[in-house]
């Protein structure tokens, strides 16, 4: 596996983030041609991917001790489950 220089790694992550944003921007012009649920899912999926990249590489979560990364992931999973439940409840209205 190629080990990237830190600076190159940061630039590569940046390029992916910009590329992802560009895809999001251009998707908006195709909105009418994509089923709305797919459209929303793709956009939120892209946003999630960008957030994970930032957290892993810019916030260094990938290089932190496992206890800290697990701490953050468990917290996020619980928060997501709770919010999902809220959305289900709200959707019921």
């Amino acid at each position: 596996m190629i080990k990237l220089n830190t600076t190159y790694l940061y630039l590569l992550v940046f390029a992916i983030l910009v590329g992802g944003t560009d895809i999001e921007f251009n998707l908006a012009t195709l909105q009418a041609t994509i089923p709305y649920n797919y459209y929303v899912s793709i956009l939120l999926g892209l946003a999630g991917m960008k957030a994970i990249l930032i957290a892993m590489f810019y916030q260094h979560l990938k290089y932190e001790p496992r206890s800290l990364s697990s701490w953050v992931i468990i917290g996020l999973v619980i928060a997501s489950l709770l919010m999902s439940l809220s959305f289900l409840q709200l959707h019921g209205h």
Binding site: A28, A79, M83, S86, H93
Partner: protein, 805 residues
């Protein structure tokens, strides 16, 4: 800032950061609010004692009901418990202080000033619609009084205080335990506080977001909670998502405390202590999925109703385990019935009654009949006063000798218990029988038949209230003239009893080591068996250099006062136009608060205040994670919930709205795209700044920080341009309703975070120019980056949500 303008005794209490003194401040302040809220309750009971009574007007009665509830829940129960936690937890886990002593002092001062604000709300017409602040009664149309704004400001301030405390205790308990103090060996009280903190970290950011939205609804005429598309239900959901865990937040510390008190006086270990801790964790998790049982009558649907019935019954099971463990501990034990033990036993008995009657309310059929009646009032007072307050009073008697070095009068204390217990039941038990009397009514007709039971309850109220005078007199005179208590009057087993009473400023001369069998050792001294913790006084209290005076800081109180002024200024403005609502805040106070805030932030950051981190402490599972970094990640976790609720509210109003503008109709996609690129680039410059700091390149660091600052400013510039443009086209008006307001509030809150990040950048730049951060001391840059990237992540989601969907 010169601290010498105050006499030493005053200075000590104003500027202390020592956990024990902050603990005492919390306890004294909580007891003050307890008296204030109790007096409100006694006045209400007087009003209700006979039919057709008019001691209080309807408005004043409603104000008393509301402020009594708010004070007891936010300003008495939790702070009372956290007074003990402040004083006792570092001692029980073998630490010399909390992880962030200045932050701890700041938490206290935010708490105090928030309490001042809620009491001040009476000047402006206090909140008068119950502590649940149901919508749409809270809208400016139905509650025009600015007292509710002041109440909202008070709630924001205390939520900030609680968040700071939560982060502090979490880092302390995880990272600062004495060698050998494994999590599994920790006493139940620190465990209870740890579980409480987890609940606080999930619940209070949700509440903060809810109160913030309520505030902007009232100040700027937005429609989150007053829209006819389910605004009232939105409040119900976000409030009770916080509100039900809050019941356990105020209860768990008392249960943990009782679990320490009962074994001491029963002279045997707590039966099944690991199951008790496991039950607390289970109850904490389930507590977040029961909130719908407060909404059975709102039409939440059959599936939801079934789900919440099951979860509500399920949440009672862990409490059964806790109670059974206490009872098992007592079986065949020779219990020493001191006042602390009596209050602990009394608390369990009352909690059982409160708990069982709570299970009734999980039944949809019974809930429909009993909801909003005095049966519910009786139920939750048996929990909150019977379980929580009685338990906390047990703690007061239990640890009083440790706080003061003196014994209280045991006979008076036992009389206090007897009269309190009898008074309590005369006060609240008749309310179970008033199951057809609605809550929050100011008076009632004679033919309702409610008079005799109300009279009885009022008599009980005065007996219970009067009994508390015995407590205060006993403790007041005993702390001056009580006989010396010695270090361990109860033969307690936990670590605090190994220290002299009162505990010296530095707590431990040497940090103790805890052996696998529970015995502990100081320095080179002999083992002190766990079970007969008699102290060798020669080994402690020698006066190390770590003293009260060295740990003082004026900035926590100044910063809290600045926040108080700022939010008071925001609150006591007047609507300049009721329809549409537009707001005129009281700018002089806001300006004073802002200026004082900047000064105090500068002073805080420049103050030389070092916190000694012990090496070789027990810190699993975060051994390799520095304290500050763990604190920041925990804080960011709370921020996730905060933004999650804002985004959830946006989803709610959007999915409930019949129409919503098409993509690109209201907001320019190009603007959103440009802002996203700018903010992503700022993340790159921020991480490059850190990389430069790590290799010692000052120019690189300066360039990175300047780039981040400039890009942050560019982001705000585009945002401001967009806002002005939208304002010019009249988008930010009632006519445009929820699409515009949800956008402005969510992106505006994010913008405030960007501004805060830019302020940090300026501070870091100034220090970089002075030569810091490039000699291996780059951690501040790293910590700033964690925050800045988080702000970036939030925008990564806001861009598609507001501009593309």
């Amino acid at each position: 800032m010169s601290q010498d303008i105050f006499p030493p005794r005053v200075r000590r209490w104003l500027f202390t950061t020592n956990h024990k003194e902050v603990g005492i401040l919390y306890l004294v302040t909580a007891l003050f609010f307890f008296v204030a809220a109790g007096l409100l309750a006694l006045t209400m009971r007087t009003q209700l004692s006979v039919p057709d009574n008019h001691v209080l007007s309807e408005t004043l009665y409603n104000q008393f009901v509301t402020v009594h509830g708010l004070l007891m829940i936010f300003w008495v129960l939790s702070p009372f418990a956290f007074g003990f936690a402040n004083y006792i937890i570092p001692l029980q886990i073998g630490a010399r202080d909390l992880a962030f002593p200045r932050l701890n002092a700041m938490s206290y001062w935010f708490y105090l000033f928030s309490g001042v604000a809620i009491i001040m709300s009476f000047i402006f017409g206090a909140p008068d619609l119950g502590w649940t602040l149901y919508s749409p009664q809270t809208s400016i149309q139905f509650s025009p009084s600015i007292g509710l704004n002041v109440g909202a400001a008070a709630l924001i301030l205390i939520t900030v205080s609680i968040t700071m405390s939560s982060v502090n205790f979490l880092v302390t308990i995880f990272k600062m335990r004495a060698p050998g103090m494994k999590l599994r060996n920790m006493p139940v009280f620190p465990w209870a506080i740890l579980v409480t903190i987890f609940m606080m970290l999930y619940a209070f950011p949700s509440f903060l977001a809810a109160v913030l939205l309520l505030y902007v609804d009232r100040a700027f005429g937005t429609f989150y909670f007053s829209s006819i598309q389910g605004g009232a239900l939105l409040w119900d959901n976000v409030f009770w998502f916080f509100g039900h865990p809050e019941v356990y937040i105020v209860l768990f510390p008392a249960i943990g405390l009782i679990a320490d008190v009962i074994p001491t006086f029963a002279r045997r270990p707590l039966y099944g202590s690991k199951y008790v801790i496991g039950s607390m964790i289970a109850a904490a998790i389930i507590s977040f999925i029961v909130w719908g049982h407060h909404m059975f009558v709102t039409g939440i649907g059959l599936t939801s109703t079934k789900l919440y019935t099951v979860t509500t019954i399920a949440v009672s099971l862990p409490f059964d385990v806790m109670v059974i463990a206490m009872i098992e501990t007592l079986i065949k034990a020779r219990v020493k019935l001191k006042a602390a033990a009596l209050f602990a036993l009394g608390a369990i008995a009352l909690f059982v009654i409160g708990g069982i009657t709570g299970v009734y309310l999980a039944s949809v059929a019974l809930d429909h009949a009993l909801r909003g009646t005095y049966f519910v009032v009786a139920h939750f007072h048996y929990i909150m006063v019977g379980g929580s307050i009685m338990g906390l009073i047990a703690g007061l008697y239990y640890w009083f000798p440790k706080f003061t070095g003196r014994m209280y009068n045991e006979t008076v204390a036992k009389i206090h218990f007897g009269v309190s217990f009898i008074g309590f039941n005369i006060l609240y038990f008749p309310m179970f029988l008033l199951l057809d009397m609605p809550r929050r009514i100011q008076t009632y007709a004679p033919d309702t038949g409610w008079g005799p039971l109300n009279s009885l309850a009022t008599i009980g109220g005065f007996i219970f209230g009067g009994a508390q005078v015995l407590l205060f007199l006993n403790l007041f005179f005993s702390q001056r003239r009580g006989p010396p208590s010695g270090p361990n009057p109860w033969d307690g087993w936990t670590l605090e009893w190994s220290l002299p009473s009162p505990v010296p400023a530095h707590d431990f001369d040497t940090i103790p080591t805890i052996a696998e069998d529970g015995t502990y050792r100081f320095g080179n001294g002999s083992n002190y068996p766990n079970g007969s913790a008699h102290i060798d006084d020669s080994k402690v209290g020698n006066g190390l250099a770590y003293s009260h005076l060295e740990g003082m800081s004026p900035w926590p109180i100044v910063m809290a006062f600045a926040a108080f002024l700022f939010f008071l200024g925001l609150s006591i403005g007047q609507p300049s136009s009721p329809n549409p609502v537009s707001y005129k805040p009281f700018w002089p106070l806001i300006a004073d608060g802002a200026i004082l805030g900047v000064i105090s932030l500068y002073g805080y950051s420049r103050e030389r205040f070092s916190v000694h981190e012990e090496s070789h402490v027990e810190s699993w599972p975060f051994r390799e994670v520095p304290n500050v970094k763990l604190g920041i990640w925990t804080f960011l976790g709370a921020e996730v919930i905060f933004f999650g609720v804002l985004i959830g509210a946006y989803f709610f109003v959007r999915t409930n709205s019949a129409t919503w503008p098409a993509v690109g109709e209201l907001f320019s996609i190009r603007n959103g795209f440009a802002m996203t690129l700018v903010l992503l680039t700022s993340s790159l410059t921020a991480i490059m700044a850190l990389a430069s700091a790590k290799i010692g390149s000052r120019n690189g660091l300066i360039a990175g920080l300047l780039g981040t600052l400039g890009l942050g400013a560019s982001f705000l510039y585009i945002k401001a341009t967009e806002w002005i443009e939208l304002g010019t086209h009249g988008v930010f008006s009632v006519a445009n309703g929820l699409p515009a307001t949800s956008y402005f509030i969510t992106t505006g809150t994010h913008g405030v975070h960007v501004v805060a990040g830019m302020c940090m950048t300026v501070y870091l730049l100034a220090n970089t120019v002075r030569g810091r951060y490039t000699n291996g001391d780059y951690h501040a840059i790293e910590h700033f980056g964690l925050y800045w990237h988080f702000v970036d992540i939030v925008w990564v989601f806001l861009f598609p949500l507001f501009y593309l969907i």
